[in-house]
């Protein structure tokens, strides 16, 4: 048991660090993770990585992945997080890509994987439906076979950033007589197909991050079915397990703690930097300690994956604790900025100003970020669902 990197790993880290330093787009620096970026901004780093062959660290080498070890992948995340890099969005790389190379046919692989790797094609996720939430088995969208096509009808919701999407992957009911999880299929859909309408959903922080996607008589060629008809649930579960790993967000939360420390050094309480007041300093310490616990739990999980065990129900811990920490981080950041948490930074244009915010620059969006992060304990299988998983799959209750 030891924590050291091997010389090879250190060399790898240096290589990666240099590459990021030399190639990360200058115009993206400091943009962070904001939801109102342009399509080009979102894809800029992805495209560069695609050219380098580094856009899919977790994919097998034969499909265009890097073939890195879990330690290398860990180093990769850490190094990107150091500069707060805008990482490739998960919908192509982490979600549909692995489904396609695992369950898709050769044509599908040839057609879709290159675009995903290169960052040329933007994917949207069509899982959730109104009134369904974490309970995917009750979905109502139908795909009815008509000659060489499926005809899709229904409504999807929470389709993240679908306003930019070229393609989508949809779960649809192909056998209406089957119950619950059975009779569902996994279908790829060109978002330009007639009958698709994407309507924005405004969130409580004012962002347009998610959408409703309405499907009306959308005709999709049958070759867009992934795997077997009525077995989509298997692929969906596979995808959800992939989605959960990496959700811990340790590297990004570390940067968040640094940012919080910086804010708390600038904010003062009766002349003392907030970070030197007993109470606030302890809160940061507690957060950092909890983050350390999460980090080492993730490292242990990675090590066990490297030893050949796939991402198991233990990844629910990473989801629960990772999101709790992200939420706590934004909560403390909002607390740190004091009165300047109140101004609505996006709302200045109401008064003919194109400035953003009125307090110190770091105070902008602190409330919005706190509001927005509440979603993390809801999506990707709510934290309640994760606890159900632990109690059933691990504890056998």
């Amino acid at each position: 048991m030891n924590l050291e990197f091997s010389p090879e790993e250190i060399a790898f880290r240096d290589e990666v660090r240099a590459f990021i330093r030399d190639n990360y787009p200058k115009e993206l620096v400091g943009l962070g993770n904001r939801e109102d970026l342009t399509r080009e901004q979102f894809l800029a780093w992805h495209k560069i990585l695609g050219k380098k062959g580094w856009s899919a660290p977790a994919w097998p080498k034969k499909y265009g992945g890097t073939g890195w070890t879990s330690t290398q992948r860990y180093i990769w995340s850490e190094e990107n997080a150091r500069v707060d890099a805008l990482m490739p969005l998960p919908f192509g790389i982490s979600m549909v890509g692995p489904v396609i190379y695992t369950f898709g046919n050769e044509e599908q692989k040839a057609k879709h994987l290159p675009g995903i790797l290169a960052g040329d094609v933007w994917w949207a996720q069509g899982y959730s439906e109104p009134g369904a939430g974490s309970d995917l088995a009750s979905l109502k969208t139908t795909a009815v076979r008509d000659g060489d096509h499926y005809v899709l009808n229904g409504q999807k919701t929470w389709t993240t950033l679908a306003q930019h999407a070229d393609w989508g992957f949809f779960l649809c009911r192909t056998d209406p007589t089957a119950k619950a999880q059975e009779g569902i299929s996994f279908i790829l859909v060109d978002m330009k197909t007639p009958g698709i309408e994407v309507r924005p959903i405004k969130l409580i922080d004012g962002t347009h991050e998610v959408n409703e996607t309405w499907l009306t008589d959308v005709r999709v060629p049958v070759e867009n079915l992934v795997g077997k008809e009525n077995e989509g649930w298997t692929y969906a579960k596979f995808l959800l397990a992939h989605e959960r790993s990496g959700i811990a967000g340790v590297a990004r939360s570390k940067r968040g703690v640094e940012r919080l420390r910086s804010i708390a050094s600038q904010e003062t309480l009766d002349g003392t930097p907030l970070i030197k007041t007993d109470e606030f300093a302890r809160k940061i310490s507690q957060l950092e300690i909890d983050l350390t616990a999460l980090e080492f739990t993730e490292l242990r999980t990675l090590a066990s994956e490297a030893a050949g065990k796939g991402p198991g129900p233990e990844s629910s811990i990473l989801k629960i604790k990772g999101t709790e920490i992200q939420q706590r981080l934004t909560e403390l950041t909002l607390e740190a900025v004091g009165n300047y948490g109140a101004p609505y930074a996006r709302g200045m244009d109401h008064f003919g100003s194109n400035e953003i915010g009125v307090g110190p620059e770091y105070s902008n969006f602190s409330a919005d970020a706190y509001f927005n992060m509440r979603k993390t304990s809801i999506y990707g299988g709510s934290n309640e669902i994760q606890r159900n998983i632990i109690s059933k799959m691990i504890l056998g209750l």
Binding site: A132, I204, E335, P343, I378
Partner: protein
Amino acid sequence: MDFNFTEEQTMIRDSLARLIKDQYDFDTRRKVVASKEGWRPEMWAQFAELGLLAAPFSEEDGGLGGGPIDAMVVMEEFGKGLVVEPFLQTVVLAGGFLKAGTSAQKEDHLAALISGERVFAFAYAEPKGRYNLADLETTATKDGSGWKISGHKAVVIGAPWASHLIVTARTAGDRRDAKGVGVFIVPKDAEGVTTRDYPTVDGRRASEVYFENVTVGADAVIGDASDSLGLVEKVTDEAIAALCAEACGAMKVANAQTVEYSKTRKQFGTPIGKFQVLQHRMADMFIEHEQSVSMTYMATLKLGEDEVTRKKAASAAKVRIGQGGRFIGQQSIQIHGGMGMTDELAIGHYFKRLTMIDSEFGNVDHHLKRYTELSAAEAAVAAE
């Protein structure tokens, strides 16, 4: 000892509740909040008509002879309806200061306040002062018989709507000294006053207010220009009690909407309200609200007691309400799931308001510290 409301208080509550139900439904509120003005002066006129603006003032001062409990009743209903109009700023805060003013000030301002003609905002916080009411870089210096005010006040809630500002400024002493704090009434259109207006995350409006050699007369001073921190603390404690009442109203509705949602929303074929984990969480939300109501009554009833008792009561209430509001706000969203994250449902707006209430006039940490320091001072006195 009794916890009953008077007939007048019950009447105020009922008529206000009816008005909000009729003219302040959630969709209407959204439109108003998104409008250029951000509030409805005509609603303010109706509040005046209903007697809300007169309720907490003595008959001698032109009011209806009520007090803090009347303000509590009003604020609780405001909380239920997410009302944005500046009752707290105008009636509780400015009104609280004016009650301590000269009869000339009362004649000039209080009458116009009660009639709804003048609207006030309280310019006290500063960019670097956090929640310390004495941490003032804004100065007021003697200028003939009057005063000259300069400085920058931060996040002045309701200022875009106000005709007048109540301003705290340092007349003597060092930046955080207890002595040397003065309170001034300044017309917003006075020369040298500039504002930068903006919306807040919880649907209100606020301004950064800049004073550049703003000249006011001697009659602008409320109380002792060199020693009014005690007055400022007293009035903000009254505002804290009222704010707690608003929080209780918002909690009550957030809880009710969440319980209701959990009964209709199904997952895995079962209403989510049947899941024991959510049941217990809603039971805890219920408890938090009940405890918040208890603390609001407590703080309101103790506003008239000696200084230390009053301060401890206000801080204790603000701590519990801050904690309860955070729990209820967060869990309301969690139980609503994705729908709770959307701007279109009311619940997210209750969450946002409850979040902001915690930081107004000092958050949980600030008041836990204040309570602790007051306890220590009490213990030191007792030991003497």
